[in-house]
């Protein structure tokens, strides 16, 4: 579609054009008129004023034409010398006008966009209904500032796969789609995060109804890069597969300061790959997950005996291993325990797996070797109530238990018991809840318990600047974590929401703050989240956590901007 001026109103998903409008349909039919309007969400358009329709089998003139793509109908007000008529065409069949057929009440209504500013102003646009609109020779004005661009792709698809990627979290991410079509989208991203600062990233999507492939480089302009590939395929309604491959490269030599570039030989490279297979069974699901870790992809440095650590370039012999984990798990769907009216439900699960080379040499956090393979199987379940209303209160409870046996003399016994009570205070526009959670993690080694859990740093840990903490010998692998949480959400208007959650934790072993031997969670913290709607489609979301000085942490800043419908 082209016209003297094409405007796109982002917050209304409305596209308009005025002056010598020319619309070419996919069957080659050309519609000309004085004005054009399309609602991208309702998937309907109208051409009005001195309308001419020309195609292989059609040559019409009239006052207005409206295309309802979801109904596959075209409505037309033809030029007439007798009584006025309304015609309805079915699909792309222009041979039968079906005069006098009922039409929607607002068939030829033009949108009222009074007072709105267009987000994009262009001269030409290619629209793929229900998916994308590609503008050319445009200017974009997100905040009133006009920026010329040669091309811009706006995706309004109901298919979320156009936007799924593997970018790591950032403080902001502005996508600039450059190329796109019915099944593809190429976009540059301007991103910012605390580690890499502000940088460019790139992703390429190939999208079908159920399947998609995403390739991404993030960051594109920093020495350390991650190259990601995601592939998803729905083979049948009950079987799907997903692969994720990631290569992390450091393109900057430690001894030099310049970036070796995107295609330069990296100084370091690692990779991770995951294969997910999921099958739907009757009232349950089966999942197979295989993770592969490649800690070092550049081959081995001299000397051949890789038992030696070579500091320049740095080479850690642990990186030579390729740890893998494999899990096959079965999970039951939600099941009612005593008929449909009892609020007691449960879900069972079980699985088998193998962890290969995850100890010691594979680059996992522990720095010591262990068995090459650890086979395990587990059995678990969650028992819970749906929220039970007692007056203004809503009560729920859940208990989860899982036992995991390893081929080594080793059993993990984990439990989680939770009680929660919620209540709305309607007059004050507040929703509040209180919960108590007890988690247990028993790492049982039988007769070898003391050997598996020696106090690694002695009975007393002293961290400079944080004090000494004794009693480490008391912990032999049986941990208990209790947490009280209280939360309030205040929404006095649709433009303001305040959410505050405070937590107090009683953990055993008690947390020890500060480096080098610190571990555990902050005993108490408060998180506040404030959302203020600045404009109909701009929401400011600020969140901060206060940790009362544990480990030197007090305020943890964070904030996001989000565009809302």
């Amino acid at each position: 579609m082209r016209g003297r001026q094409v405007d796109f109103f982002y917050d209304r998903y409305e596209m308009t054009a005025d002056g010598d409008v020319r619309v070419q349909l996919s069957d080659g039919t050309v519609i000309r008129g004085d004005t054009f309007a399309m609602d991208l969400k309702l998937n309907r358009y109208i051409v009005a004023g001195n309308v001419h329709v020309d195609g292989k089998t059609v040559h019409l003139t009239g006052a207005a034409l409206a295309g309802y793509l979801d109904l596959d109908k075209t409505y037309f007000l033809p030029e007439t010398t007798g009584a006025p008529q309304r015609w309805t065409f079915f699909g792309s069949d222009w041979t039968d006008e079906h005069p006098g057929r009922a039409q929607p009440g607002d068939t030829f209504y033009l949108p009222d966009l009074t007072g709105l500013r267009p987000y994009i102003r262009a001269q030409r646009v290619l629209i793929v209904p229900r998916d994308v609109a590609t503008f050319t020779n445009l200017s974009i004005a997100p905040l009133g500032l006009s920026v010329p661009l040669p091309r811009y792709v706006f995706v309004f698809s109901a298919n979320s796969h156009y936007f799924e990627n593997a970018f790591a979290g950032g403080r902001f991410d502005v996508g600039i789609p450059l190329l796109g079509g019915e099944h593809s989208l190429s976009a540059l991203h301007v991103r910012n995060d605390p580690i890499d600062g502000t940088y460019l990233a790139f992703d390429q999507h190939f999208v079908w109804d159920k399947d998609y492939v995403v390739f991404a480089i993030d960051p594109l302009t920093q020495p350390q890069k991650q190259i990601n590939l995601i592939g998803y395929k729905r083979w049948s309604p009950k079987f799907e597969s997903r692969i994720f491959a990631q290569e992390t490269i450091d393109a900057q030599e430690p001894s030099v300061t310049h970036d070796l570039g995107l295609f330069g030989e990296p100084a370091n490279a690692a990779a991770f790959g995951e294969l997910d297979l999921n099958a739907g069974l009757r009232h349950s699901g089966l999942s197979f997950v295989r993770d592969n870790y490649y800690g070092y992809l550049l081959g081995y440095y001299h000397p051949p005996d890789d038992a030696a650590f070579d500091p320049d370039p740095p080479y850690d012999p642990r990186w030579r291993e390729h740890p893998t984990t494999t899990t096959l798990s079965w999970t039951e769907a939600e099941t009612r325990a005593f008929g449909r009216y009892a609020p007691l439900l449960f879900r069972l699960r079980s699985g088998v797996g193998d962890a290969h080379d995850v100890y010691g040499e594979g680059g996992f956090p522990n720095e010591q070797p262990g068995p090459e393979d650890a086979f395990y199987h587990y059995l678990g379940g969650t028992f819970y109530t749906s929220p039970i209303k007692v007056g203004r209160y809503s009560f729920s409870t859940s208990y989860d238990r899982q036992l995991e046996w390893f081929n080594t003399p080793h059993l993990l016994d984990e439990g989680d018991l939770r009680f929660a009570l919620g209540r709305p205070f309607d007059k004050q526009h507040i929703n509040a809840f209180l919960s108590y959670d007890v988690q247990t993690l028993d790492d049982k080694w039988g007769a070898l318990q003391d050997e598996a859990y020696p106090a690694p740093f002695g009975n007393t840990i002293c961290n400079p600047g944080y004090g000494c903490y004794s009693g480490q010998d008391a912990f032999v692998g049986l941990a208990t974590m209790r947490t009280w949480s209280i939360s309030g959400v205040w929404s006095p208007s649709s433009a303001f929401t305040l959410n505050v959650i405070a937590q107090r934790r009683y953990d055993f072993p008690a947390p020890v703050p500060g480096p080098p031997y610190g571990y555990g969670r902050s005993p108490e913290d408060v998180t506040a989240d404030v959302r203020i709607r600045l404009a109909p489609n701009i929401l400011l979301d600020l969140s901060r956590t206060y940790s009362f000085g544990f480990g030197g942490n007090r305020w943890n800043p964070g904030g996001t901007f989000a565009l809302l419908p």
């Binding site: 004023g49 006025p84 039409q103 699901g285």
Partner: protein, 286 residues
Amino acid sequence: MTTRRIFTLLAILALCALALPTLAQGGLVRFTGQLLDVRDGYVYFSTGDAFKLAPDVKLLDYVTGKPTTLQPHVKLYARAVLDPATKQVTELDLTPKKVPFQTVFAPDVTAAAANTATVVAPELIGGKRITGKQVPVEFLVTVPPTTAITDVVYLATDVSNWNPQAVRLDRVDGERYRTVLHLASGTKFTFRVTRGSWNSVAVGPDGLEEDPITFFVPETDAYSRKVTVAAWSDDRTGAPQEAQPGAVPTPFNPNPFNNGSGLFPRSRATPPGGLPPTRPGPQNPP
């Protein structure tokens, strides 16, 4: 006498002349709306109605009632005044400003295209008129009971570029999150429930990815949309444990095979003098 008769006759004529416009106005028909086109002697409105123009149709300003230089064209608003006798538009009052749609029909006016629809269109039956009024819509999402208390749940929608953190919900009890949006009736969009990233999306009871949920704001005073999340894509088993299957050792014992513990032999790869610093650069995902 003759003079008196003449004056009486003149008075009656004057009264008739004064009364004529009133009588005439009472029979006229007015139709107000947005113009689509004026062509071949017809004026077309965005309602789909069309009326024949009288040869001497007057173009007047909608507000002042005086002659205007505006020419009728698409997007202008107009009030058409019809003569029921001829069924033609005798006056067209034009304005570029929006004016409310209004009709005053006489029963015998049949010149409008609106009266030509006689064939039923099955695809349109059952539709309800949508006014676009603001409707408070509550989204109430029930999550797996093992979802961590501090986890944040979001809606990702197709009208926010599928940002996985587009609409934040607030936890209101042990298993439910809630938010209220004020949306125009007739609004239609699709959404997914996430925990803030595309790695953590709601999946079905069988662990398979589900299609986005299509939502339509009905013409009502308030509306509640309830959604139940069976599991998350990064935790299909719904296990809340600190140590996931395979993620050994536990967080409290990263080193169960301590040197010298006797459980397992020392690694042949452990270099003399201890291990080097951690590998530079981003770490692999856990």
